[in-house]
């Protein structure tokens, strides 16, 4: 009897044999990979597995505990949903890189030492970039290249940090010191993948340039593995509270200005991960549970929202809110499922966001973080405002632009339906998720106080939307962000270099 099979094993083997399988067999293979991986998690026993000696150190591929398991479940579930949504894609290469990306994300989650973590961290970067490049076209090629360069920089910070830290602190990956050059470089590598400003611009730059189905995988693995390593490596590091709270609001401001439907949602990923970073920074059992629960629920509703807008892109070819409108008549199911994602992300009671977001916010209250509380609550209002009200109003309601469209192919609807189902299930039955959380904490989201407080925030935000509807209209612009520095400054540097060298 084999003691333990690494859940990533199925993804890597599947990626290797996929090119040789055609037709229905290929669909069956794509769907069975995450299922088998999920089953291997169900039967995994806690402890250390797969330790291999390597140049005087120990590589540990399988640390199985509650923290790695809950991320493992989330990743295999969303990999299944993403595969259902992508089944119609003919290009095998796109499936292969998605499998490698998901598998390496699982590799990071179960890595017990920093070197094997780094190995999978890099496979993630180099496989995920192809989900952008497969879209084709000049803007995707360029955005993918910027994405890759930024992640190579992040990976180098991480590697440098690991090497420096290893000489004194060893290579085991557990809670790291909050000072010193090595851990600081490791932290920078982690923060870059979590898209914490000012290291965030790659996300909003690159994700909307990804393929219709690729963005679903992208939205999950990079930022959520980063949340995992932060929970594992830097719990209770106070500066993360400030960074996370700023991050939550930063994403909101840009989402308010954005016209590209998928870029608007990408800015909301940044905002949402901000809550998780705050949870890590507070570092109490409730806060860390909250960060993990938030990651779990966010993976599902964020993917659902992006699947919705990707479906709109797929069926209409349009990605700008200003060019869309009135689609609920032609894409009613997409509209309905998108709204379930919208209610979930805004933390409407009975949907999954409510049971996870309130944990982080409650942890901020318990530790008397008044500013974090106010900023996170503001970000909650902003999430409802732009994801759940402005965006669907512009795309599905609003002025009917008479765009010919229908709901997307069945497999795409089933993918969205599955995600929507789990969003509602967790909202109604929070204990299903709570029992998977790493720390034993008694928490009840449905108290009168929480319900009335949340409903007031949501209700009066909606009132603001109704009163200021005219101001909320999307505008046909792009917004400057930190990527300006490397997009404009590198062009300026090239111009200067060419002048100095006398090349016209």
């Amino acid at each position: 009897m084999i003691e333990w099979i690494h859940p990533a094993f199925f993804f890597f083997v599947g990626a290797a044999i996929l090119p040789f399988v055609k037709g229905r067999g290929r669909s069956a293979l794509l769907l069975s990979i995450p299922v088998l991986s999920f089953l291997s998690l169900l039967f995994a026993s806690q402890g250390i597995h797969g330790a291999i000696p390597f140049i005087g150190q120990k590589l540990i591929f399988g640390r199985v505990d509650k923290l790695s398991m809950v991320f493992g479940y989330a990743f295999t579930i969303i990999a299944f949903i993403g595969m259902v949504y992508a089944l119609h894609v003919q290009e095998s290469g796109e499936h292969i890189v998605a499998l490698l990306y998901a598998g390496s994300a699982l590799g990071v989650i179960f890595a017990g030492d920093l070197f094997s973590l780094f190995l999978f961290w890099e496979i993630m970067a180099f496989s995920s970039v192809f989900l952008i490049w497969f879209k084709g076209g000049e803007s995707s090629n360029a955005a993918g290249m910027r994405y890759l360069l930024v992640h190579i920089f992040g990976g180098l910070c991480l590697l440098g940090g690991i090497v420096i830290h290893a000489s004194s602190g060893g290579t085991a990956f557990s809670s790291l010191p909050h000072t010193g050059l090595g851990p600081t470089l490791i932290l920078i590598g982690f923060l870059l993948n979590a898209a914490v400003p000012p290291l965030h611009a790659w996300l909003a730059d690159a994700y909307p340039e990804a393929t219709v189905t690729g963005i679903v995988f992208l939205s999950v693995f990079t930022t959520k593995t980063a949340v995992y390593v932060l929970v594992r490596g830097f719990p209770g590091m106070e500066i993360l509270i400030i960074m996370g709270a700023i991050m939550a609001v930063y994403g909101i401001v840009y989402a308010m200005l954005e016209n590209d439907t998928r870029r608007l949602l990408a800015y909301h990923i940044i905002s949402q991960v901000g809550y998780m970073v705050v949870g890590v920074g507070i570092g109490t059992d409730l806060a860390l549970n909250g960060a993990v629960a938030f990651a779990f629920t966010n993976i599902l509703y964020k993917a659902l929202l992006l699947m919705g807008m990707s479906s709109v892109l797929f069926m209409t070819g349009k990605r700008k809110a200003t060019e869309l409108g009135g689609l609920y008549r032609t894409m009613p199911w997409t509209f309905l499922l998108f709204m379930i994602g919208g209610f979930s992300i805004s933390g409407v009671p009975l949907f999954s966001g409510f049971i996870s977001k309130s944990m982080v916010v409650s942890a901020a209250v318990e530790t008397h973080q008044s500013w974090a509380f106010l900023l996170l609550t503001l970000a909650s209002a902003g999430t409802l405002l732009s994801t759940t009200l402005k965006l669907p109003y512009a795309v599905f309601l609003g002025e009917d632009k008479k765009i010919p469209a229908t709901d997307p192919p069945d497999n795409m609807l089933y993918g969205m339906g599955l995600a929507a189902f789990i969003c509602i299930l967790l909202g109604l039955w929070p204990d299903l998720l709570y029992r998977l959380l790493p720390y034993p904490v008694e928490y009840h989201p449905y108290t009168g106080e929480h319900l009335v407080g949340s409903l007031q925030i949501l209700g009066f935000t909606a009132l603001g939307f109704v009163l200021f509807l005219n101001k909320m209209r999307p505008e046909n612009t792009i917004s400057l962000d930190i990527d300006w520095f490397y997009r404009k400054a590198t062009a300026g540097f090239l111009w200067l270099a060419n002048r100095l060298l006398g090349v016209s």
Binding site: W333, V452, Q456, S479, L480
Partner: protein, 85 residues
């Protein structure tokens, strides 16, 4: 079930729309009233003792976000689409 026809009935009928708006405002008022009677388990911040604070904060935050974001956007961040070309 024809989802399209179901949605159209609710979105296109002006009478129903008016009715929805009235219900929406009534619910908002009710929420503020209920807040006077909801039991607070812990009072941490000053505003925890003020009934209806969350309503006020939600509304003010929304207006601020719209006004401030758009102001920063128009003054500085928002550029025409061919800016990087």
């Amino acid at each position: 079930m024809n989802l399209k026809r179901f949605l159209e009935r609710y979105f296109e009928d002006p009478d129903l729309q008016k009715k929805f708006k009235r219900i929406f405002y009534a619910v908002l008022a009710l929420l503020v009233v209920v807040d006077f009677f909801v039991h607070r388990e812990h009072v941490t911040f000053l505003w925890d003792t003020i009934p209806g604070f969350m309503s006020l904060y939600g509304f003010v935050a929304t207006v601020l976000m719209i006004v401030v974001s758009k102001a920063i956007g128009h003054a500085w961040l928002m550029k025409s689409e061919d800016y990087y070309d």
